[in-house]
Assembly symmetry: C2
Homo-oligomer: 254 residues x 2
């Protein structure tokens, strides 16, 4: 396109950013492995030749990005970014973008179905045992919406885990974090809601055990459709997630 420029683009990134980038590079390309120490702030000061305040700003960037963390004794070490932490930030972004429950529901339907398909195909004995444990605990608290909602969320996490697909696990997490908290509202508001939920989980787990993909998908769809029907009794699918939560929080305080 253009002629070769005479000068290279001048690098104007602030020093703290360069510090963060330099450490990030070492982690990304594997020269520092997760769990390995990064060194003390003093050492970084010496290596980069910048002030400790500057180093600390760079550290904050990486810490928030999930690439490094401080161990029990506050020493820096590289780490594998936790999906959960990243997902939390994504959920926050979704709220700020004022997405609606309709969007959330549609996407969750897609991802939970994919999740159960994967689980039916590839769940290990251990995965199945975990799901069974969750189901047993759910049956015990069927009358307690708060506890049941928590176990419901866990059931779906375990299902995604059973799919053995980490990309899918990650992709579903942000939506799930916004989606499943409503379970408590719904189970609490619909008689027999808790029983239907546990029933659906039971059929899903059974389908996974029998490697029956069709049944797994069917019951997952029913399970989510149940959620949807319950939701529409108490709120509109086309309102933003943010507003709905706000109102619910307000109502709960009364």
């Amino acid at each position: 396109m253009a002629a070769t420029p005479l000068f290279r683009r001048i690098d104007v990134a602030p020093a703290y950013q360069k510090v963060a980038d330099a450490i990030e590079r070492e982690i990304i390309n594997g020269r520092i492995k997760p769990g390995e120490p990064i060194g003390t702030e003093q050492q970084l000061v010496a290596q980069f030749g910048v002030n400790r305040s500057t180093v600390r700003e760079g550290i904050r960037v990486l810490e928030e990005g999930g690439l490094i963390r401080r161990d029990s004794s506050r020493r820096l070490q590289a780490c594998l970014p936790r999906y959960n932490k990243l997902a939390t930030r994504l959920s926050r972004a979704l709220i700020l973008h004022e997405v609606t429950f309709r969007e959330l529901f549609e996407t969750s339907m897609t991802l939970e179905v994919a999740s159960v398909e994967g689980a039916v195909e590839r769940a290990t004995e251990e995965n199945i045992a975990e799901l069974a444990g969750n189901l047993a605990r759910s049956a015990d608290v069927v009358g307690n919406p708060a506890d049941l909602a928590e176990l419901d969320a866990e059931f779906h996490v375990l299902m995604a885990k059973a799919s053995q697909n980490r990309v899918l696990q990650l992709a579903r997490e942000p939506a799930a974090q916004l989606f499943f908290p409503t379970t408590e509202m719904i189970v609490g508001g619909v008689p027999e809601g808790g029983a239907r939920l546990v029933e659906a989980h039971r059929h899903i787990l059974d389908a996974i055990r029998r490697r029956d993909k069709e049944a797994g998908v069917l019951w997952t769809r029913r399970h989510l459709q149940d959620w949807r029907r319950g939701f529409e009794k108490i709120a509109s699918l086309d309102r933003s997630v943010e507003h709905t939560y706000m109102e619910h929080a307000y109502a709960a305080r009364q």
Copy 2:
């Protein structure tokens, strides 16, 4: 469970974290709207009663989290977290977790199919025009793998946009960022690869225009299966994304 404790859990979060949390709260619950200024560092120092270094560390956290940014004149303002930036972090996380292309492919198949279904249902005239523009440009560079790969990625972004589902847009982004760069490798390595890609896009767009969901899904699947076949000619689906990219980068340098 336990008796009501006599003392409330004392807060030991470091000051910079509290600064970040305090500002985040104001943004999340809407008291500071996206685009509005946060104030200068000096003002934050005065308001929070902490040192400027501390304030700056808190700012770094929020900046990395995408909740605030500095405008042209480096003043702080709240902002809507950009999907893209967050997705980059997630992609990085996926690489560090050494996910395989099989996981990536499976999830992308799910999400792209959901994407085209949404697009068939809800694409606006404007969405269709954007897709058509992309298609026309693609046809022009059918012999240039690098440019074509870029336009392919854009086509799929536009398709997700046309689905009018922002949760879906967000959910597909991390996988897409890792998935589509390989298009260049594949199109370059398979004769007629470029032509098949443009052909698939043409059929997909046509299906969206005709609101023919079945055709849209069919051609999207074919399109991705094409990718998969091409990929398997040059690498294994079960190797980690990281290693495959490394080798490709190495080969390109020779």
